[in-house]
C-alpha cells in the first residue's frame, strides 16, 4: 500500500464529516425548524406546489397513512415512467433514432428508478433517447426523497413521545424535494460541466480521427443527469459504462466532486438524526461505526487490486525476472480500470458506490480481483448501512442498533432501551423481518437463477466468478444499490423479472416494517436515563454495532461467498483458470 492510497481515504472521510455536519444542520432546518437561508426563494414555490397538487400540508398523519401516501407516489411514478419509456419511438428529442424500448427493459427500468436502485439492464447511449433520459431524472429526484421520508418517520418515533402521528408526508416530501434535492443538483450540474461533462441536445458527432479512421461520438444532456444521479445516490448513468465513461467523469477532480456529492446527504442524515433526538453524540458513534467499516473495505479492496492478478502477471513477466526479483510479479490489476483514476481512487470510488449505495461505477467490477469484488458484495449484502442511500442507510443502521441493544439486553438480562424508548418484542420482530427479507430475497433468487435454464444461460464468466455475477445482481437489486458487476445478461426476461422483484422487496418489504417501528415508538413514553441504561454513544456500543452488522448482516452470506469470490481467490492464487 502507498501513502497516497491510505491518505485519500482519510482525507475523503474528513471532508465527508464536515459536509455531513453542515447538511445535517441544514436538513434539520428544512424539516423540523422550518427555517433555512433558501426560504425567501423557496417558500412561495412550496405554496404553489401544494395548490397545484391539492395538498393539505398541515394535517398530521399516522404512520399507516404516511406509508400509504408514500406508496401512492411511488406506484404512480412507476406507471407514468413505464408509459413514457414505452412511448420513446414516437416522442421527440431522439436525434440518435433510438428504437422502441423493449417491454422488459421498461418494466425493469421503471422499477429500478422508482426504488432508488438505478440498476440498468440497457446501455444508455445505445437504447435511450435524450427525452427518455430526462424522464429518468424525474425519479432520480423523487426516489431519494422517498428515502428521507422513511427516515423522518423512524426518527420521529424516537423524538416524539406518546404521539400517534409521525408528521405529514406531503410536507416532508415536497420540502425535501425543493430544499435538499433541486438546488444542489443545479449547483452540481454547473460544477460538472465546468469540469468537462457535456450538456447539449446535439446528435451524435461523426468525426474523422487523427489516425485516419471514423468515430461517432455520443452526446447529450450528460451533466444534469450525472449531477442528480450522484447527489441523490441514484447511480443510473447516462452511458453504459457510467462513471468510467470519460464524458461522465472526465478527470479525477470531477470524480472527486461526484464522490463528495454521493456522500453528502447520507452523511447529513446521521447528524439530522442526532439533532432530531437532541443528542449529537449518537451521530458521532454511528459515523465512527460506518467510517470504520468503510475504511476496512476500501483498504482491503485497494490492497488486492494493487497486487493484482497473479495468473495474468506470471503470463506477462518473464521467468528470468521472476527469479531475479520476487516483487516483479506484483503488478496492479488494470483490467476494467481507467488511467486517470489510477488504482487507488478507482477502488475508493467502487467501495463508496457500493457502501453509500449510489451505484455508478468508475470501473468494471466484473474484472476486479475476487477479493476486491467480494468487498463490493459485502457492502451491499450488509443491507446498505455503511452510509447507505438517502435516509434508508441511516434507517437500516437504526434497525441494526435496535438488534444490537436487544442482543446486549439478552446478555445482561434487562429490558433493552434505545434513545430513551423501550425496545419490546414488536420492534425487534419488525427489525428482524426487515433483515430477513433482504437476505432471503438475495439467496433465494440467486439459488433459483442457478436452478433454471434461463438463469444459467445468462451467465458470462465460467467457474465461481459466474456465481459471483448472479449474487451481485440480486445484492445490488435488493440493496437498491444498482451498481452492475456486469457479465450477466441482465436484459433477458428472466433477470429483468427477478431483479425487478428483488428491487421491490428491497425497498418495500424492507422499509415498511421499519416505518411500523417508527409508528410504534412514537406512541411510547420516554423513559428517563438511569444507572441501568446502556450508553449508545461510546466505543463499546460502536463495537457492538459493527459486530451486529457483520454477524447478522454478513455472516448469512458466508457460504455463498465461500463458493463464489473466496473459491475464485484461492484458485487464482493456485494459478487455476476456469
Amino acid at each position: 500500500m502507498t501513502v497516497q492510497g491510505v491518505l485519500q481515504i482519510v482525507v475523503l472521510l474528513g471532508v465527508v464529516a464536515v459536509v455531513g455536519i453542515f447538511m445535517g444542520r441544514y436538513m434539520f432546518g428544512v424539516f423540523e425548524k422550518n427555517k433555512t437561508f433558501l426560504d425567501p426563494v423557496l417558500l412561495p414555490v412550496e405554496r404553489s406546489v401544494y395548490k397545484v397538487c391539492g395538498i393539505d400540508p398541515t394535517q398530521e398523519m399516522r404512520w399507516t397513512t404516511y406509508a400509504l401516501c408514500l406508496l401512492a407516489v411511488n406506484v404512480v411514478g412507476f406507471v407514468v415512467l413505464f408509459i413514457l419509456l414505452g412511448l420513446q419511438s414516437v416522442l421527440p428529442l431522439n436525434p440518435a433514432h433510438q428504437a422502441h424500448v423493449p417491454f422488459w427493459t421498461s418494466w425493469n427500468t421503471a422499477i429500478s428508478f422508482v426504488t432508488n436502485t438505478n440498476w440498468q439492464n440497457y446501455g444508455g447511449e445505445t437504447t435511450l433517447s435524450y427525452l427518455s433520459q430526462m424522464w429518468l431524472t424525474v425519479q432520480q429526484f423523487l426516489s431519494p426523497v422517498s428515502g428521507i421520508c422513511i427516515l423522518l418517520v423512524v426518527v420521529r418515533g424516537f423524538s416524539r413521545s406518546q404521539s400517534n402521528t409521525v408528521g405529514n408526508f406531503w410536507k416532508d416530501f415536497i420540502r425535501c424535494l425543493l430544499w435538499v434535492a433541486v438546488p444542489f443538483a443545479i449547483l452540481g450540474t454547473i460544477i460538472l460541466v465546468a469540469l468537462g461533462s457535456p450538456q447539449n441536445l446535439h446528435g451524435y458527432i461523426q468525426v474523422s480521427t487523427l489516425g485516419g479512421g471514423h468515430q461517432k461520438i455520443a452526446q447529450g444532456p450528460v451533466a444534469s443527469m450525472t449531477s442528480i444521479m450522484q447527489w441523490g445516490d441514484n447511480g443510473g448513468g447516462f452511458f453504459a459504462t457510467n462513471a468510467a465513461h470519460p464524458y461522465e467523469a472526465p478527470n479525477v477532480a470531477s470524480l472527486l466532486v461526484q464522490l463528495i456529492m454521493g456522500f453528502a446527504v447520507s452523511a447529513g442524515c446521521i447528524w439530522l438524526f442526532g439533532r432530531m433526538i437532541k443528542d449529537v453524540r449518537q451521530s458521532r458513534a454511528v459515523f465512527v461505526a460506518m467510517a470504520i467499516m468503510f475504511s476496512v473495505g476500501a483498504l482491503v479492496m485497494y490492497h488486492y487490486e494493487l497486487v493484482g492478478n497473479p495468473i495474468v502477471n506470471s503470463a506477462v513477466v518473464s521467468a528470468k525476472a521472476k527469479t531475479a526479483n520476487h516483487t516483479a510479479t506484483y503488478r496492479s490489476n488494470w483490467e476494467g480500470k481507467e488511467t486517470r483514476f489510477g488504482i487507488g481512487t478507482t477502488t475508493l470510488f467502487e467501495n463508496s458506490t457500493t457502501a453509500v449505495s449510489w451505484g455508478s461505477t468508475a470501473a468494471s467490477n466484473d474484472s476486479l480481483t475476487p477479493i476486491g469484488g467480494m468487498m463490493t458484495l459485502f457492502n451491499m449484502t450488509t443491507g446498505e448501512v455503511i452510509f447507505g442511500s438517502w435516509g434508508v442507510g441511516m434507517v437500516g443502521m437504526i434497525a441494526f442498533a435496535i438488534l444490537a441493544i436487544f442482543l446486549a439486553g439478552l446478555m445482561v438480562g434487562r429490558t433493552p432501551e434505545y434513545l430513551g424508548k423501550k425496545i419490546e418484542s414488536y420492534e425487534v420482530k419488525m427489525a428482524v423481518l426487515a433483515m430477513i427479507v433482504t437476505s432471503f430475497a438475495i439467496l433465494v433468487l440467486a439459488a433459483l437463477s442457478l436452478a433454471v435454464k434461463p438463469g444459467i444461460s445468462g451467465i458470462y464468466n465460467p467457474g465461481p466468478h459466474g456465481l459471483t455475477e448472479v449474487l451481485y445482481a440480486f445484492s445490488s437489486g435488493v440493496g437498491n444499490n444498482g451498481s452492475a458487476f456486469g457479465g450477466l445478461n441482465a436484459a433477458s426476461p428472466w433477470y429483468s423479472l427477478t431483479v425487478g422483484i428483488a428491487m421491490l422487496l428491497g425497498r418495500y418489504a424492507m422499509y415498511i416494517p421499519l416505518l411500523a417501528v417508527g409508528g410504534s415508538m412514537a406512541l411510547k413514553q420516554r423513559v428517563p436515563v438511569g444507572a441501568g441504561t446502556f450508553p449508545t454513544h461510546g466505543p463499546l456500543f460502536i463495537g457492538l454495532l459493527i459486530g451486529t452488522v457483520i454477524i447478522v448482516g454478513a455472516l448469512i452470506f458466508f457460504p455463498a461467498l465461500a463458493l463464489g469470490p473466496l473459491a475464485e481467490h484461492f484458485s487464482m492464487q493456485a494459478g487455476r483458470l476456469f
Binding site: 491518505l7 485519500q8 482525507v11 406546489v49 397538487c53 395538498i55 401512492a72 407516489v73 404512480v76 440518435a96 445505445t126 431524472t137 406531503w170 416530501f173 450540474t189 461533462s197 450538456q199 441536445l201 451524435y204 458527432i205 468525426v207 480521427t209 489516425g211 485516419g212 479512421g213 455520443a218 451533466a223 453504459a240 459504462t241 468510467a244 465513461h245 470519460p246 464524458y247 472526465p250 479525477v252 477532480a253 472527486l256 495474468v312 506477462v316 518473464s318 525476472a321 516483479a328 490489476n333 483490467e335 476494467g336 480500470k337 488511467t339 486517470r340 489510477g342 487507488g344 468494471s364 474484472s367 475476487p370 458470462y460 464468466n461 456486469g486 457479465g487 475464485e568 487464482m572 476456469f578
Partner: protein, 198 residues
C-alpha cells in the same frame, strides 16, 4: 381517502415530470451552453480547421508514427457510441489470452522493449473502452518507435511526452497520465513545423 391520495400523487408526479424532467434538464443545457460552451459541446478538438475528435474520448491509433492508447473492449475498438468494458473475470482464460495478445503486439511494434517493461495498464483493457489516456510509463515506452517513424530525435519526443504529463489531483487522487490525442496532435504539429522548416 385513498382516491384523493392517488389524485394528488398523479398531479405531483406529472408536475415533477414537466418541471424536473423537461425544465431542469433544458435549463441546465441553456446555462451550460452560455457559460461553458466548449465543455457543454463535448470538448471537441480541431486540427487544421477540422474537428478530429474530443480530447476526452480515446481514439484508435495503429500507425507506428503515433502513440497508441490502451486496448479497447468496444466493437469496433474505441466505439464512442457504445461504450463497454471487457467484463472478463480474473480467472477467465480469455482474459489471459487477450493480455498475451496485446503484449506480443506491443513487443513486436516496439523493438528493444522487454516484456517486463510493459505496464499492465497498456495491455489490459479500460473500463469504458474509450480511455483517452495512458500512463507516462506507457508513453515513454513508445518513444523510440515514434521518434524513428517520424524521423525525430528520441530526446525531442521524450521531452514532448514529459511536457504532456498530467500530475495527480491534490497530490493524492488519481494517477499521472498522458492524453494520447493531445500528445499525437502536438507530435503532428512538430513534424509539420519541421517539414516546413526543411
Amino acid at each position: 381517502m385513498s382516491y384523493r391520495v392517488l389524485w394528488s400523487s398523479l398531479r405531483l408526479v406529472l408536475l415533477a415530470t414537466v418541471v424536473l424532467g423537461l425544465g431542469y434538464n433544458l435549463l441546465m443545457t441553456g446555462i451550460a451552453e452560455l457559460a461553458f460552451p466548449h465543455q457543454a459541446n463535448g470538448s471537441l478538438v480541431k486540427y487544421n480547421g477540422r474537428v478530429v475528435g474530443s480530447s476526452l474520448i480515446g481514439q484508435q491509433f495503429t500507425a507506428a508514427k503515433f502513440f497508441h492508447g490502451r486496448p479497447s473492449a468496444t466493437t469496433p475498438p474505441y466505439n464512442a457510441s457504445a461504450s463497454s468494458s471487457s467484463n472478463l473475470g480474473p480467472t477467465n482464460p480469455i482474459l489471459v489470452k487477450q493480455v498475451e495478445h496485446s503484449l506480443s503486439k506491443i513487443l513486436e511494434s516496439n523493438p528493444g522493449v522487454t516484456r517486463n517493461q510493459v505496464p499492465n495498464s497498456l495491455i489490459e483493457s479500460s473500463a469504458s473502452g474509450l480511455d483517452p489516456d495512458i500512463t507516462p510509463t506507457g508513453a515513454l515506452l513508445q518513444v523510440q518507435r515514434v521518434a524513428k517513424a517520424n524521423h525525430l530525435s528520441v530526446n525531442l519526443v521524450r521531452q514532448l511526452v514529459l511536457s504532456h504529463v498530467q500530475a495527480r489531483f491534490l497530490w493524492v487522487y488519481g494517477h499521472s497520465y498522458v492524453n494520447v490525442l493531445r500528445l499525437n496532435l502536438a507530435l503532428e504539429k512538430l513534424v509539420g513545423r519541421k517539414g516546413i522548416g526543411g
